[in-house]
């Protein structure tokens, strides 16, 4: 069986999530604009996936039996870049040029430019369908790999997403795992005020999925759920509804998450944010 690249302990994973937040701030400082708060809501999810759950070989990004990870909410690639650099998919020096013209690391990930990106992202609602296609391909190949797709809760407004949800249960894609970063906020306001998407969990269940609802910042719980995923041949797709806080980890962003959906931290605010994050890392 393929192995995960690293299997960090729960305290180490918590530390990694904070490091992702710091690296996000650092990259956006260079780019001049970026998605902070929706990256911060997913920091623990990304840390647990890449440093514990996913079976990868960074030396062989095209390894056929690797687990796949698709960023449905593609605008948080800034949180993925430091992880992929750290794992060795590309030089860390690339991070310093995030968001610059003609550089590979962009606001949304491009599979043609960056090793380790299994599929490009940008248009919400597409990547669960793409993930289903990857799972069907794995079945043809007789593979044991799993495909993880990180979705935003606002992304659940997209009609195509539910076409993919329907298809996944119809084709019994037990190797498809959707994680909803349910931070409760989208560009137009609180997600369910804009267009009610609740109850997310029972809606997925009604479509034939196995659904688990957890606190998406509780690293121990994320580990527990992701360690206990059914094997890829189980025949039932899984959704993890991760209840999160947009802007998590920086109190002034938590207080006004939408203002920090896309923005730029001035020097004073950057210092405040970094100090708050670092205070939890010591």
């Amino acid at each position: 069986m393929p192995k995960n690249v690293k299997a960090l302990s729960i305290p180490e994973l918590r530390h990694r999530a904070e490091w992702i937040r710091l690296e996000t701030i650092r990259q956006i400082a260079g780019a001049g604009l970026g998605h902070y708060s929706s990256t911060f809501s997913a920091a623990e999810i990304l840390a647990v996936l890449y440093y514990r759950t996913l079976r990868l070989d960074p030396k062989k990004p095209d390894w056929a039996d690797r687990d796949r990870f698709l960023l449905g909410k593609g605008h948080i690639a800034v949180g993925l870049w430091p992880i992929l650099a750290d794992l060795g998919y590309f030089p860390s020096a690339w991070l310093d040029k995030f968001g610059k013209i003609d550089q590979p690391l962009t606001d949304h990930p491009n599979m043609r430019d960056v090793p380790g990106i299994d599929f490009s992202a940008g248009s919400l609602g597409h990547n669960l369908s793409v993930g289903a296609g990857i799972c069907l391909a794995s079945r043809y190949r007789g593979g044991h790999d799993r495909t993880f797709v990180l979705l935003g809760d606002g992304e659940l407004h997209e009609g195509q997403l539910w076409e993919a949800v329907m298809l996944a249960s119809h084709y019994k894609l037990g190797n498809l795992i959707a994680i909803v970063d349910a931070n409760g906020s989208s560009a137009n306001g609180p997600t369910s005020d804009v267009m009610n998407i609740e109850p997310i969990t029972s809606r997925f269940e009604a479509f034939g999925w196995r659904a688990v609802e957890i606190d998406g910042h509780d690293v121990a719980r994320l580990v527990e759920v992701l360690d206990a995923l059914p094997e890829s041949g189980s025949g039932v797709p899984t959704v993890i509804v991760a209840r999160t806080l947009k802007g998590k980890g920086v109190s002034f962003m938590e207080a006004s998450p939408r203002e920090w959906h896309l923005g730029f931290l001035g020097p004073a605010d950057r210092k405040r944010a970094e100090e708050e994050i670092r205070s939890r890392m010591s």
């Binding site: 599979m111 490009s120 793409v130 391909a137 794995s138 043809y140 076409e163």
Partner: protein
């Protein structure tokens, strides 16, 4: 003159000889491909179990994925299969495939340069009886902005087969406009197409009949009539709409040809526009006219009646060609 029968009472009966013939080539070619390769997959949303799909499904049941009536999902699922090393075909109703899936085709398939072949079933006016929602007359326009996408238009069964084989060999994103069931046979053997190149069927002088899809067959037949009238038309199959062979168009104009475009597409955003753009960008003045569909409310009827209404017939092409010739 079209003499093929149409089952008026039930347009979905698949009993029209032309429909069986036209549609079946897709299934036959898929079977041919699947005998050579183990990476062929067919996704055919809401196409029914017509001959195009049934032959393939019966031969390779595990390689057929039914996505239900969900075209957008079909294209993105195909992109996922292609990203995993497979060569999926999406065979979708022409009126919906490009309009409804424009974004999935652009974003998931074309921008990622993935080897997905998309084929419009019942292209052009094949479903003209259903209403304007089922006219497939804007797909060139809708898709030509998608980067890396090849757009081809099959004039007949032989062309469809050649394009499907070439698409798999090239391993690039490809959209093929299927031949309308009203089309006629153009090629006797397998045409040798070069991606992005116009295919010159007959080299003549004075007037060039430039067809695509059903239009190519009309051009070939009209050329015979025009020869009887003492003209010697050049006949070109613009089998590729993208990449577009501006060079051949400009050369024909420089040689003194008047150009008549024949297309089962609206003439405001289709091949005629591409030809005009090629001439304009290269500063070449030429007589240009088009036989095709106007931009606006179109008639609703069985295909031949609509084609007759707008002059997408051999008679219509001959009349416009003669009018162009008189201007020279």
């Amino acid at each position: 003159m079209n003499t093929k029968s149409i089952e008026m009472a039930d347009p979905f009966s698949y009993t029209s000889a032309a429909e069986v013939e036209g549609g079946a080539i897709v299934g036959r070619t898929l079977i041919e491909l699947a005998q050579q390769r183990d990476d062929i997959v067919l996704i055919a949303p809401d196409i029914g179990r017509g001959p195009a799909t049934m032959a393939f499904i019966e031969a390779h049941p595990d390689r057929y994925i039914d996505t239900g009536i969900a075209e957008a999902n079909s294209v993105s699922v195909a992109a996922g299969l292609a990203a995993s090393g497979y060569r999926p075909f999406v065979f979708g109703i022409g009126a919906f495939l490009a309009p409804k899936c424009a974004e999935q085709i652009r974003t998931d398939v074309a921008m990622n340069k993935l080897p997905v072949t998309m084929i419009s079933a019942w292209g052009g006016l094949d479903m003209g009886y259903f209403g304007p929602s089922h006219h497939a007359l804007e797909d060139i326009n809708i898709l030509r902005g998608a980067p890396h996408l090849t757009i081809a238009s099959a004039a007949d069964n032989a062309a469809m087969r050649a394009l499907m084989l070439a698409g798999v060999a090239d391993g690039l994103p490809l959209y093929i406009r299927a031949p309308s069931s009203m089309g006629s046979d153009v090629y006797k053997g397998t045409p040798r197409f070069v991606r992005g190149a116009a295919h010159v069927i007959t080299k003549g002088k004075g007037i060039a009949l430039i067809g695509t899809g059903l239009g190519t067959g009309l051009c070939v037949q009209a050329a015979e009539r025009l020869k009887e009238a003492g003209l010697s038309p050049t006949v070109v199959d613009m089998v590729y709409l993208k990449p577009f062979d501006s060079e051949t168009i400009c050369r024909l104009a420089r040689e003194g040809h008047s150009l008549l475009v024949v297309e089962e597409h609206n003439t405001s955003t289709g091949l005629a526009s591409l030809v005009a753009e090629a001439l304009g960008r290269n500063g070449i003045a030429a007589q240009l006219d088009a036989v095709g569909l106007p931009d606006g409310d179109l008639a609703v009827a069985v295909p031949q009646q609509i084609l007759d209404r707008y002059g997408l017939t051999v008679d219509g092409v001959v009349a416009k060609a003669r009018a162009l010739a008189r201007k020279q």
